[in-house]
């Protein structure tokens, strides 16, 4: 199996950390992975974006034109990247910040999750990225939740390991949204 995805939002939403977490989780599952952060001009104006490709075989291109999944955390990211999602693909959006009502696309599946609200309920608005990754993993099966939880150790700096239980809760909260849908 080969999973490719875009994840985008603004700086501070932890998009690159989430992409790194996915990559570590894939490695724990003995898969191949490439993580490509957007770089340079695209980074200006506070935007953050990364491409993650997870594969049992050859990863191939780290650059994807039309990903099968987009995880889009704010309106700017949605407006820019939703049109690129492959026909038949999935768009996981942060409903707390994104209005999808004007989007004309009928050929992709929308999964709307109020990520900010969920993160706030968990007591930390910075957990939006974890909610998003949890939802992505649950919806696509690209990696398991268990691998994600374990990968937090590789992803977070030692000094932040005390927050791992909170992050795991946020991952699970994201996944729970998928199970409920």
């Amino acid at each position: 199996m080969r999973h490719d995805m875009y994840m985008a939002g603004f700086g501070g939403q932890g998009v690159l950390l989430a992409g790194t977490l996915l990559s570590h989780a894939a490695m724990i599952e003995d898969r191949n992975v490439s993580f490509m952060p957007s770089y340079g001009v695209e980074k200006r104006g506070g935007a953050a974006m990364c491409t993650v490709v997870i594969s049992d075989g050859d990863v191939g291109s780290p650059v994807i034109g039309n990903p099968s999944v987009g995880v889009l955390l704010n309106q700017t990211a949605f407006d820019k990247y939703c049109p690129r999602i492959r026909s038949g693909g999935i768009c996981i959006v942060n409903a707390s910040l994104v209005d999808i009502s004007t989007c004309p696309r009928k050929d992709i599946e929308f999964v709307s999750i109020p990520m900010n609200a969920i993160a706030m309920d968990l007591g930390d608005s910075r957990m939006v990225n974890m909610v998003a990754v949890g939802a992505y993993a649950a919806r696509t099966g690209a990696v398991s939740l268990a691998a994600l939880a374990e990968a937090l150790k590789d992803t977070l700096p030692e000094r932040n390991h005390k927050y791992i239980p909170d992050n795991v809760k946020a991952l699970e909260a994201g996944a729970e949204q998928i199970r409920r849908n």
């Binding site: 790194t20 570590h24 490695m27 490439s34 490509m36 340079g40 191939g60 291109s61 780290p62 034109g65």
Partner: protein
Amino acid sequence: MAKRLLVRGNEAICRGAIEAGCRFYFGYPITPQNDIPEYMSREMPKLNGVFIQAESEIASVNMVMGAAATGARAMTSSSSPGISLKMEAISYMAGMELPCLIVNISRSGPGLGGIDASQGDYFQAVKGGGHGGYHIIVLAPASIQEMYDLAMLAFDLAEIYRTPVMILGDSVVGQMKEPLVPHPRPHRELPAKDWALRGKGDGEQRFIKSLYLGDGELEAHNWKLDAKYREMKARETRWEDFQTSDADLIVTGFGSAARIAKTAVMMAREEGLKVGLLRPVTLFPFPSAAFAERTARCKKVLDVELNTGQMVEDVRLSVARDAEVYFYGRPSGTGSLPTPEEILGQIKKYY
């Protein structure tokens, strides 16, 4: 198996260089290779190595020259405009036959251009970017593992052939992260450094130079260098072959373009098209024989590059006489990185 590490390409080069015994890094900041000097500034002091952020690219490569002249494994890194500045010293070191590693995490040009992934420096790298008609070995990694492995290989090749070696990458292979399996440097027999400056002691004076003014001296020196280039061509060409044996069309490209093309090739295969990928890993020496061999049977080659057509000239010089070589280029800038889907379109156009 050693635990896989998730590592950025620029960091992988540093790890490979350090594993290869490089303890001397001299550089100057320029995007998109800053992870390299930053990593080295952090790690070299722990290894009793030397890190200097020089006053310029020019000074940094000349510091490499000095350290290399003593037989030490030394390196510098930069990006396109900075590499242009280093070219003077690279020409000198080619003439002096000094081994070292130069990393070009290239960006788009000409001039200040932009910082996006680009392969606009192919000619500069492989045709002797400085003056005087020389070549250096040029390696083009396409994965994080290769960034690491080729950094190690680079130092060995540099010493075997007494030449600067360049790793030519871009921000795709420099910035992306992939699993890396660290491993000890493979053992290779290396020649004694009987040329290295050490203070003459009780021995004969040694000197390292590139000036030859005596009758016939310089011509002899150039023929000697040429013999070395021919030896490299005979022994050191490296490439990746992906499903070319039954291919009706071979896609080629190097570095990041080849990575993108590989997915396009896989997509084509899924659609039942017999397409393969031939990816030069050594850009100099160019794997001409690999092209000649395959195009004896497969008559269509599609070359994909992030420029307006550079390696394609070497491809055309290498293929069988009756093979067609098509070119697809995206001279890069913001938003100009081609996608696998786009290359698949090109494959279908020429298939």
